[in-house]
């Protein structure tokens, strides 16, 4: 090792300077590593902060929702405060009908609009795409008020108005997901189909839609999963009901609405109903999301076997 310079001033040799620089570099590396460790720890802290609400949320939904559940809870209609035998059967049926109708409205339009974008790349389809992207971020409350102004004022509070609101909510998500799925279909496949002399609709039906089907299924089901949990578009449109309602032109109930109505009441039993409904709703959303991915996986495997 070279000596440290003395007060007399040692000869400044190359080897001494080299050693000095090396020591500096070593110290700096140590400092850089320490910085990295500190910051990584901070990042781990951030991760814990992101996961904490999730853990708490899931814990309380299970801990408070599960005790509320029973077969009767799932099939009965709501009872007045304090009377046993409370249930959310009508809300479950309402959610299924309203979301189902919304899918019936939104899926075909979403497919057609996506085909429009895919088939005619140009200014107009760019506009459609941009509108879809911006609409995806539209506050759902605005869509609810829109459905109110358009439908409730003309045909009255009804499940149909709620379905329309949910359809408007899902449409932009579906258009983008469908378009993304269709644009992964290689151009060669289109050309091969057309070269066989098939007409365009035939190519789209048998080649493009079939190839893009897994992506389309995933996208549409994820949009549905989002619609199941939405409250804001329903709150001004379907009004709520205490009974089983199967006619979409009359006021209906839905699970998010039931949670909202019960959560804001002070009775413990109402809060228990809210937690139980939240449990069922979350379970439904999870089932829809898992279905979205596993169904697509199944379609993919099936396509590969062929």
């Amino acid at each position: 090792m070279t000596t440290v310079p003395s007060a007399l001033g040692p000869p400044v040799t190359a080897s001494w300077r080299r050693e000095l620089v090396r020591q500096q570099a070593r110290r700096r590396l140590e400092r850089r590593r320490r910085l990295g460790r500190v910051c990584t720890t901070l990042c781990v802290g951030a991760l814990c902060l992101s996961l904490a609400p999730l853990v708490s949320l899931v814990f309380y939904i299970v801990a408070r929702g599960l005790p509320a559940l029973s077969l009767g809870f799932l099939v009965h209609t709501p009872t007045p405060e304090g009377i046993p035998g409370n249930g959310i059967g009508n809300s479950i049926v309402g959610t299924v009908i309203v979301v189902g109708l919304a899918m019936v409205m939104a899926v075909p339009v979403g497919l057609a609009a996506a085909l429009f974008v895919v088939e005619r790349p140009g200014k107009l389809s760019g506009v459609v795409r941009f509108v879809a992207d911006v609409l995806t971020g539209t506050p759902s409350i605005a869509i609810g008020v829109f459905a109110y102004a358009l439908l409730v004022l003309t045909i009255g509070y009804s499940g149909l108005a709620g379905s329309f609101a949910l359809a408007v909510l899902m449409l932009p998500i579906m258009v983008r997901a469908n378009e993304e799925a269709m644009s992964t279909v290689p151009l060669d496949l289109w050309e091969a189909g057309l070269a066989l002399g098939s007409r365009r609709p035939r190519v789209v039906r048998s080649v493009v839609l079939r190839t893009a089907l897994p992506g389309i299924v995933t996208g549409n089901l994820l949009a549905m999963a989002r619609a199941i949990g939405e409250t804001a578009p329903l709150i001004f449109t379907i009004f709520g009901s205490q009974f089983y309602v199967f006619r979409p032109t009359s006021p209906m109930s839905a699970m998010p609405l039931t949670i909202y109505d019960n959560a804001t009441q002070l009775y413990p039993s109402a809060q228990q109903t809210a937690w139980g409904t939240a449990f069922v709703l979350l379970a439904l959303v999870i089932v829809a999301s898992v279905l979205a991915r596993s169904w697509a996986g199944y379609l993919n495997r099936k396509a590969r076997v062929r």
Binding site: R17, R18, V21, R22, A25, R32, L35, C39, T40, L42, C43, V44, A46, L47, L49, S50, L51, P53, S56, L57, Y60, I61, G110, A113, L115, F116, E119, R120, S125, V128, A132, V134, T136, G137, P139, S140, I141, I143, V145, F146, A149, L150, V168, V175, R199, R200, P201, G229, E230, T231, P256, I259, Y260, A274, W275, L281, L282, V285, I286, S289
Partner: protein
């Protein structure tokens, strides 16, 4: 093929669909015009819905917009004197969104940096799935949790504690009620966190491997590569993620209504109950009778909210589309921040 078959193909005898026949059939079916019509129809329905959304809301709010004019942006909400302005609610929306972003951006970026760069892959994938699961939780469920679990917790512990923090306590005046601008911001932060994490992680993963290798070749540590190569490379994606999260925070209505306290006076501290555009719409909508100026005022709130969120979202989308700049402006391995590179020794024979 025999000549006979070729002839058949052209002539198209009964039973065998020849080219001529199929062309003929094609023509009769309108040359796929039905299909083209379908496509145009889909796009048209989509466009009509969008236009109808704007037109209907403007039409329903015309009375109030005409009554208040541009002053709707700063006047308060006083139904008693026939004043239906959005000012207080705009302040509430901006305040909750700003606080929510201040909470969610550091946490979200730290999380996504960890998931994208620092954590081993086998650990990152399940953790990421967990964070993104938060996005699937319906907002009403988050609101329920905020109302029943967080609200008492904030009233009892968090808000009294914040009142005693030396510097920050200036922000936290007033009694700890639980339901407040602060609680609404925390709930919003939780709701936008998955958006920030998912989108910024995606853009971090898109930074080319070669950039990282260049950083490592300059002896940068793992953290330095993450901080000085990956984050600058993903800057635009992160900005877009934050913008889109901001749009979501501004538009959220139901969960906020449950925790914000719903006070139509101007908030004077983060602990005071307030209102956002979304929560004001939820609260005032059913109170107002159809056809009244008040109803029109509520719809005017919707128009304001829609305008703000369209601007924010369009900005976010434009950022998402914009090309990422090819080279980050600063060298990756500059040493730990301010320390910088050592000045090159004058002696040219010294090499490391």
């Amino acid at each position: 093929m025999t000549p006979v078959a070729t002839a058949d193909l052209c002539a198209g005898p009964a039973g065998v669909p020849g080219i001529r026949q199929s062309l003929e059939r094609n023509r009769l079916r309108g040359n796929g015009r039905l299909y083209a019509g379908l496509r145009w129809g889909g796009a048209a329905v989509f466009g009509v819905v969008f236009v109808a959304l704007v037109v209907t809301l403007l039409q329903e709010s015309a009375a109030d917009l005409g009554h208040m004019g541009i002053s709707i942006l700063w006047r308060g909400w006083r139904p008693a004197v026939g004043e239906y302005g959005a000012g207080v609610f705009i302040v509430g929306t901006l305040l909750t969104t700003a606080v929510a972003l201040a909470l969610a951006i550091p946490v979200g970026l730290g999380t996504s940096l960890l998931l994208a760069e620092l954590a081993p892959r086998w650990l990152a994938a399940p953790l990421q799935a967990m964070v993104e699961f938060l996005a699937a939780v319906p907002s009403i469920v988050v609101g329920l949790w905020g109302l029943i679990i967080l609200n008492p917790l904030f009233a009892r512990d968090v808000e009294p504690f914040l009142k005693h923090v030396p510097v920050l306590d200036a922000l936290f005046h007033g009694p700890p009620l639980g339901a407040s601008i602060l609680l609404a911001s925390v709930v919003l932060a939780i709701m936008i966190l998955p958006t920030i994490v998912a989108l910024s992680r995606l853009s971090m993963a898109g930074v080319p491997l070669a950039d990282r290798e260049a950083g490592m070749a300059l002896a940068a540590t793992r953290w330095q590569v993450a901080r000085r190569v990956v984050v600058p490379g993903a800057r635009r994606g992160i900005r877009a993620a934050v913008t889109l999260a901001m749009g979501r925070a501004m538009g959220e209505a139901i969960a906020v209504t449950m925790v914000v306290g719903n006070n139509t006076a101007l908030p004077h501290s983060l602990l005071s109950p307030g209102s956002t555009l979304g929560s004001a719409i939820v609260n005032s909508f059913s109170e107002a009778l159809p056809g009244t100026l008040q109803k029109s005022g509520v719809v005017a709130l919707v128009v304001v909210l829609l305008a703000i969120s369209v601007v924010v979202n369009a900005g976010g989308q434009l950022l998402m589309r914009a090309r990422t700049p090819p080279v980050p402006p600063r060298g990756p391995a500059g040493g730990g921040g301010a320390s910088g590179n050592p000045p090159a020794p004058a002696d040219s024979e010294i090499r490391l």
